[in-house]
């Protein structure tokens, strides 16, 4: 089954919409869902043109497609466990929060907190992701714990903060402090990064581009050939400020 949601033109287009109701499982029972626009509750049909094609008996066969101006829609795919969501343009904050299964594909850019506290499943972002991509909530000890986030563009600051499990793959560059407070999982940055892995405890990070302002508290141990990336990398252990046992590989 395909559910196509095309955003309607709004009087105040900057108002954020909180739409954690948009997950494939919810469309099994119909499209009578509630979302918030600013401090007002709205039905899905007040904000979207809804088209349903075919039927489904189980949620894994449901595909939700978002069209139009979706850049201010927050929490799409929150607690999603199966099925798929395709966003044809940009998406707002907190897309794929706490996601445990299924696939989200964003053809445009993603706003901050993409895949926050994700447990499983896959997020593909064809454009750029903003700050706090694949991280946790404020003050939380664990960020993303499983699954895969792949960003084909670049990310903002604090990408993969508190990463505890799963894989984060950035094809472009990351901003300031990628992998800060990392305690597990795998972070791959194909482009450049600034001050990577500050205060990391565990986990591994590979950076293929240039590292700016490398932190002084990483201990260079040896060189290693990384066949999957066809490079020779310097292997650092750290963060020694923190008794950390993480691995940071930077192209030699």
């Amino acid at each position: 089954m395909r559910v196509i949601l095309e955003s309607k033109v709004r009087a105040k287009p900057n108002l954020p919409i909180e739409a954690e109701a948009i997950i494939p499982r919810n469309f099994l029972k119909g499209t009578d869902l509630l979302v918030y626009e600013g401090n007002k509750e709205r039905t899905l049909s007040e904000l979207f043109w809804i088209f349903v094609e075919g039927t489904a008996v189980s949620p894994e066969n449901i595909e939700v497609i978002l069209k139009g101006d979706t850049s201010r829609i927050k929490r799409v795919g929150e607690y999603m466990d199966t099925g798929s969501i395709v966003i044809e343009g940009d998406i707002g904050m907190h897309c794929g929060n706490f996601m445990s299964g299924g696939t989200i594909e964003i053809r445009g850019n993603a706003d901050s907190w993409l895949g926050r506290e994700m447990r499983g499943g896959t997020i593909l972002c064809r454009g750029n992701a903003s700050h706090y991509c694949a991280t946790g909530y404020r003050g939380e000890k664990k960020g993303m714990q499983g699954g895969k986030v792949e960003v084909f563009g670049s990310t903002g600051d604090f990408c993969a903060e508190y990463l505890a499990g799963g894989t984060v793959h950035i094809h472009g560059s990351a901003g300031d402090f990628p992998g800060v407070e990392m305690r597990g999982g795998e972070l791959i940055i194909e482009g450049d990064a600034t001050r990577p892995c500050g205060n990391m405890k565990s986990g591994s990070c590979v950076i293929l581009g240039t590292v700016h302002d490398m932190l002084p508290t990483f201990e260079k141990t040896r060189q290693r050939v990384l066949p999957e990336w066809k490079i020779t990398a310097d292997v650092y252990k750290g963060d020694v400020a923190n008794r950390g046992k993480g691995t940071l590989c930077v192209r030699s």
Partner: protein, 429 residues
């Protein structure tokens, strides 16, 4: 008439030993205060009555009319923002939180542009702090990091640190070692025993290096970290480790530079590391007189210290998403109520520009830069001058602000209560 033990409401020090001489409802002399205190008590740029912007300029309106229009603006909004709160007393702040909950607004205080990052760091790793009295009586090593108390908190050093005689530090000036860390040689750096000049944005690296050195991992550290020599870092670490009682004070040089809350987190974790050797504490130097109080009031009422979003009826907190600057910059909010602060002067241009586009109401004793962006300005009492109330000092000690004179203005808590009543169909908070 001379009034003793007056509390100065200007900065987070809340000095409580001022003497004011009043005559005929006017303050004519301020004693014991710093230059900032004197200016706080002596200058007054209050409007005689509320004003409303018209097409041809400003017109005076009555308080009732101003309150009615403010309530209408807030009632009709889809994403109202209530911002400020840090220069007024806790009584007004609590009414503000009630209004936010009632109308589904976002309420934020000035921490968002000053020590918000400190709060984020404290939420991650805790706060090893103490009251200023402890510092005064015990601390023999003082570190000022990214702050300039001589200009911003002029009496901090004479009341609590460098020049204050303490019970266990009787000869303060000789017994206390002062370390100043900054990107430039400030006035405070001039009186430091050790001045550490770091490159812009190098705080995080220097703090990490110090942590490693304190842990005995000096061998990893390169010869220079962000412009600071390894020798100096080792010397500083040694001074800290051999201290009887150390206190770190930090300012916006640490919270608002590159890395933000990660800088503070690193400083807290350095304090944590030093506590394996001696007693060390860390505290932010708070700016506005009652900004700590706004964090306290917000926390006991909503569970969060700033940037609380009530849009869905329950409190949601996520700095970066629900902070005033971000909401304004993204053009989300469609009405704003600014109380006891001046975002027009302190916010980034894009954020301030949005305030001018939407109906903005200012409730503040003084005309300020935000008035120029506002639709309505309602003058009120100034907490600590012509209104009494509770304020919290920068170390979390509540102090009762005194009412020293009467100028006939209504208290901002009263104005806010009337707005609440109108929004709630006549029922008070």
């Amino acid at each position: 008439m001379i009034i003793h033990d007056v509390i100065c409401p200007f900065c987070g020090c809340l000095c409580d030993d001022l003497e004011l001489e009043c005559e005929g409802g006017k303050i004519i002399k301020v004693q014991n205060g710093c230059a900032l205190a004197e200016s706080t008590f002596m200058t007054d740029t209050r409007l005689p009555a509320p004003i409303r912007r018209t097409e041809s300029g400003w017109e005076e309106i009555s308080y009732n009319e101003a309150i009615k229009e403010t309530a209408e603006i807030l009632q009709g909004a889809d994403r109202p923002l209530l911002y400020g709160w840090s220069s007024t007393h806790g009584e007004a702040q609590s009414v503000g939180v009630h209004i936010a909950e009632l109308i589904g607004a976002v309420i934020d205080n000035t921490s968002t542009v000053c020590h918000g990052p400190s709060i984020l760091a404290i939420q991650e790793v805790g706060h090893p702090g103490c009251t200023l009295g402890q510092v005064k009586n015990r601390a023999d090593v003082i570190i000022y990091w990214g702050c300039n108390p001589i200009e911003a908190h002029p009496r901090h050093m004479s009341r609590y640190t460098t020049y204050a005689t303490g019970f266990f530090v009787p000869d303060a000036q000789r017994e206390r070692t002062v370390i100043v860390v900054d990107t430039r040689r400030t006035d405070t750096a001039g009186i430091a025993d050790e001045f550490v000049q770091i490159e812009h944005g190098g705080d995080y690296a220097v703090l990490s290096a110090l942590r490693a050195i304190v842990r005995g991992k000096a061998s990893v550290i390169p010869a220079k970290v962000a412009g600071v020599s390894k020798e100096q870092l080792i010397r500083i670490a040694e001074i800290c480790k051999t201290a009887k009682f150390g206190a770190i004070f930090f300012g916006l040089g640490l919270t608002m530079s590159r890395g933000k809350y990660k800088n503070i987190r690193n400083a807290i974790e350095l304090t944590d590391e030093l506590n394996r050797h001696t007693k060390f504490v860390i505290s932010p130097l708070r700016g506005h007189g009652n900004v700590y109080g706004s964090n306290e009031v917000f926390t006991w009422m909503t569970g969060y210290p700033f940037a609380v979003d009530f849009a869905r009826g329950i409190a949601f907190y996520n700095p970066g998403e629900t902070t005033a600057v971000d909401i304004l910059r993204r053009g989300e909010c469609d009405a704003a109520l600014i109380v006891a602060s001046d975002p027009g002067a302190n916010f980034p241009r894009a954020a301030a520009a949005h305030l001018a586009k939407i109906p903005t109401v200012v409730i503040d004793p003084h005309v300020n830069a935000t008035t120029a962006l506002a639709r309505i300005h309602i003058p009120c009492t100034a907490a600590g001058i012509d209104a009494a109330g509770t304020a919290y000092r920068m170390d979390g000690v509540p102090i009762r602000l005194k009412k020293v004179i009467d100028r006939g203005y209504p208290d901002d808590a009263e104005i806010l209560k009337k707005i609440y009543d109108r929004l709630n169909g006549g029922k008070g908070p």
